[in-house]
């Protein structure tokens, strides 16, 4: 067991990689009532073509990682939610582009709940009947998102940007694709991606690290996992350009929703550069579009945006893009003003004051995040799966310079790389 001290934020982590390859991290939070644990596999919606070392690559139906997540909760003994409930734990799971996470939070019976979490995720139970039954439920989940304009405008933007990369496919798949899923394919995906060497267990809260490690070591030692070769993920070549510059979706909304973003041309960065790119991009976006920026105040004044206006930067080792937008009565006018302001900023650069302010703001929001066990577990896992460390973010923010942010600004804002997604009422 390795001890990692982060004195600047007064946190101590304990880490160990078990013999079967499972990585375990414990972050004790003295004084906390609850324990929050996540058991994550580096397997998400984008991993739809893959092979383990020595096998032929194959493609699986869209939405299968998410389908698998639903089905893991069923055991021969019944629904695992019932077991967690009996042990006073609140359990859940989610699937994102690049990972599937199972979790619980509890204030008692931590040992039993940890065992339950590890065991149910390591015990798939799929039958033709239980797989078919799930299709109706997931169909309703997909329909729910069809009616959700915030989801539609966001995924509309990704769809407009990407030609081939599977990030443009909805995480839950489509009603058509989920009906192609059967138990054999589920087992194949499971065998590939749920090997301990592809997974991370993170436990945070009022726990004793040594006790957690003892439990997990014993649990894993009692199971037999064959060593697994490296997992290869295959992605078709993605052109640098956006797929379509503008995508419009019709839904009953009070005002048009608009999101636009810049597709990064330079992808495939090594982990350290990727992390730095993210930090600089977030500082840049906040300085330009944050609530204290002149642009934000002008746009608000002109009634082109509302409180929903914001920005984010989303990246991994093979895609990266910014997202900017919100509700606007006049998406075209908004885009025009933003373009003028961004082109001006590219010429003049961000001011020293705006940069320092954004920096302080980002440091503050990072420290606030550390109050939340849920956020720590989620963020730590996300960064770990791309071979970086969430705790490196604070020094990166602290050491960033205006010159770096301005260089980043000139690199990112290429108006040849912009895509726009709009959700508006029919007839507009």
């Amino acid at each position: 067991m390795e001890t990692l001290e982060y004195n600047n934020v007064q946190e101590t982590l304990y880490r160990e990689v078990l013999d079967n390859g499972l990585e375990v991290i414990v972050l004790p939070k003295p004084g906390f009532q609850k324990t929050y644990a996540t058991f994550a596999t580096k397997y998400g919606s984008v991993d739809n073509r893959f092979a383990v070392e020595g096998e032929e690559p194959s493609k699986v139906p869209d939405g299968i990682a998410h389908f698998l997540e639903h089905k893991m909760f069923e055991e021969p003994t019944g629904d695992i939610f019932a077991t967690f409930a009996s042990q006073g734990a609140s359990a859940n799971a989610f699937t994102s582009f690049d990972r599937t996470v199972y979790l619980f939070s509890a204030t008692e019976q931590i040992t039993a709940n940890l065992e339950t979490l590890i065991n149910f995720v390591q015990n798939p139970y799929f039958t033709d009947e239980n797989v078919n039954k799930e299709k109706g439920i997931i169909e309703q989940e997909i329909n729910m998102y069809k009616d959700n304009p915030d989801w539609q405008v966001y995924f509309g933007l990704i769809d407009a940007m990407y030609h081939n990369h599977p990030i443009h496919i909805d995480i839950a798949g489509t009603v058509e694709s989920i009906y192609q899923i059967d138990k054999e394919t589920l087992y194949r995906c499971y065998e590939n991606f749920y090997h301990p060497s592809n997974m991370l267990l993170f436990v945070v809260g009022g726990v004793d690290a040594a006790e957690v490690f003892e439990l997990v070591r014993a649990n894993q030692a009692s199971k037999n996992f064959k060593p697994q070769g490296e997992i290869h993920r295959y992605f078709e070549d993605e052109p640098a350009s956006v797929k379509i510059p503008r995508k419009v979706t019709k839904l009953p909304v009070s005002l048009p929703k608009v999101m636009f973003g810049f597709k990064e041309k330079r992808v495939g960065l090594p982990p350290a550069e990727l992390l730095e790119q993210e930090v600089l991009s977030k500082l840049m976006l906040d300085a330009l579009f944050g609530a204290s920026s002149s642009l934000y105040q002008d746009l608000y004044e002109e009634n082109l945006i509302s409180d929903s206006f914001g920005s984010e930067f989303n990246s991994s080792d093979n895609y990266a893009f910014s997202v900017i937008g919100g509700d606007s009565p006049d998406p075209e006018a908004l885009l025009g003003k933003v373009r003028a302001a961004v082109e001006e900023a590219v010429k003049t650069g961000i001011s020293e004051e705006a940069f320092e302010r954004s920096k302080r703001k980002k440091i503050g929001s990072y420290l606030r995040m550390l109050n939340s066990p849920e956020a720590i577990a989620s963020e730590f896992t996300r960064y770990r799966f791309r071979d970086s460390d969430m705790f490196d973010l604070l020094p990166l923010y602290e050491n960033s310079t205006l010159e770096q942010v301005n260089a980043r600004l000139r690199e990112h804002f290429d108006f040849g790389q912009v895509a726009v997604s709009i959700v508006e009422k029919a007839g507009e």
């Binding site: 609850k34 509890a106 039954k133 302080r360």
Partner: protein, 424 residues
């Protein structure tokens, strides 16, 4: 469990929880007034204008910069209803100075800013700045119009509106669209002054501080008005309707939203409150509950099917998203669950699981500053002082007969269904 220390300064009640557990100071100011047709819109609009600037920092850009300089202090407000009250809650979340090299103490600077926002706004000629009022009227208009965008929330709010059609509770906490046009900088400022005189004010601070420190800062920055803190009025519980009201609304949707409104008649301060929490938990609070198991797992009718208890109004609401043509079947299955609870069809397992889940939730509150504040504020609202530990003990002693008694008090009042447009 840690306890709040209490104090008061004129009309402001103070609640301070000294703790080193968090990296931040969490601040909440609650200001409540009776929910009323005549004042609901102006009361909702006021905080939108207050957050635009203060007398000392009148320009919004400079005001936002002040927040950024406090290491990006979280600052926001909410307007919502609890029982028959309309409550404005201001929140601030600022990091503890020990983690950063800050020149001025951050708690001091935060309370100074919040004090200015609430008691010393930007004014011109004895009224709010007209430009801000006009802009925020637009913002409020957009917010009210956007309720329809989120169909799950829209259906939930429409169900309550239909259910409470002749009570103040039908009102949306953000007010009424038709009132907005007539509001002026002058009329709003007069309403604001009245609000300062009449609202019930409770200020909470959780973090590495003391009651004495907070008291001194509030004295300095909030200009506390002479008098004593107000109290919230007791919620009026309406009698049952008789027939069930059914409302169907059509819109361009892919999925039907089915909402049922029930009256429990049981309030937060009542002896049966713990039993009503158990009732709701077994019915639809969790993934092991009757609604989830029967509507989702058994029949594959829905992705979500759950219930929610409102102890400040004595209501329980059920919500589910279903295939449009499955309305009749879903209603039958949901009604069956209500009936089965009345007949006392409760297993030992359902009861023990639900007790474990509610207890877990009550213990987890301690890990979040804002959850602790929200729980404690229930006591202010209801006049019933019951610690999380006491409620935990009461939950443990709820028996099946208590849950059946609650089930038989619960009345289905309204069924609301949002569906697609029928072909002409």
């Amino acid at each position: 469990m840690t306890l709040f220390e209490r104090g008061q300064l004129g009309r402001i009640r103070l609640h301070v929880l000294p703790t080193k557990r968090f990296k931040t100071f969490a601040i909440s100011l609650f200001a409540g007034v009776p929910l009323s047709e005549d004042t609901v819109t102006e009361t909702a609009l006021a905080p939108f204008v207050l957050r635009r600037g203060t007398a000392s920092t009148p320009e919004t850009k400079a005001f936002r910069e002040r927040l950024d300089d406090l290491y990006g202090a979280g600052f926001g407000f909410d307007v919502y209803k609890r029982g028959d009250s309309q409550i404005v809650q201001f929140r601030m979340d600022v990091i503890n100075d020990k983690f950063v090299a800050s020149s001025s103490p951050l708690l001091d600077a935060s309370l100074k800013l919040l004090g200015e926002v609430v008691t010393d706004p930007c004014t011109e000629d004895g009224a709010f700045r007209a430009k801000y009022v006009e802009a925020e009227k637009q913002t409020l208009t957009k917010r009210l119009e956007s309720i329809v965008n989120d169909k799950i929330r829209y259906a939930a709010e429409r169900c309550l509106e239909e259910m409470c059609e002749d009570e103040p509770y039908r009102l949306h906490p953000l007010g009424k669209l038709e009132d907005i046009a007539a509001i002026t900088a002058d009329s709003l400022y007069r309403r604001y002054e009245q609000w300062l005189e009449e609202a019930v004010f409770d200020l909470y601070v959780v973090g590495d501080t003391t009651l004495d420190e907070v008291t001194a800062l509030v004295q300095q920055y909030f200009r506390p008005k002479a008098g004593v803190p107000g109290v919230y009025a007791v919620t009026n519980v309406r009698q049952e309707r008789g027939d069930v009201k059914t409302v169907v609304e059509e819109m361009d949707v892919s999925q039907g939203k089915l909402n049922l409104g029930l009256r429990t008649g049981i309030l937060y301060g009542d002896d049966d409150y713990a039993a009503s929490l158990m009732y709701n938990g077994i019915l639809g609070g969790y993934p092991h509950s009757k609604l989830f198991l029967n509507v989702r797992e058994k029949e594959s009718l829905a992705y979500y099917a759950s219930s929610r208890l409102d102890g400040h109004k004595g209501l329980c609401t059920i919500q589910s998203g279903i295939e449009i043509q499955n309305y009749d079947r879903a209603v039958v299955i949901i009604k069956e669950q209500l009936e089965s609870m009345k007949r006392g069809e409760l297993t030992e397992l359902e009861i023990s699981q639900t007790k474990a889940m509610i207890s877990n939730h009550l213990r987890e509150l301690q890990d979040s500053a804002y959850e602790m504040i929200a729980y404690d504020f229930n006591a202010v609202l209801s006049g019933k002082d019951r610690s999380a530990q006491q409620l935990l003990d009461q939950i443990q002693s709820v028996g099946p007969e208590d849950i059946v008694r609650v089930a038989n008090r619960v009345q289905l009042d309204t069924i609301y269904y949002l569906r697609d447009r029928k072909e002409a």
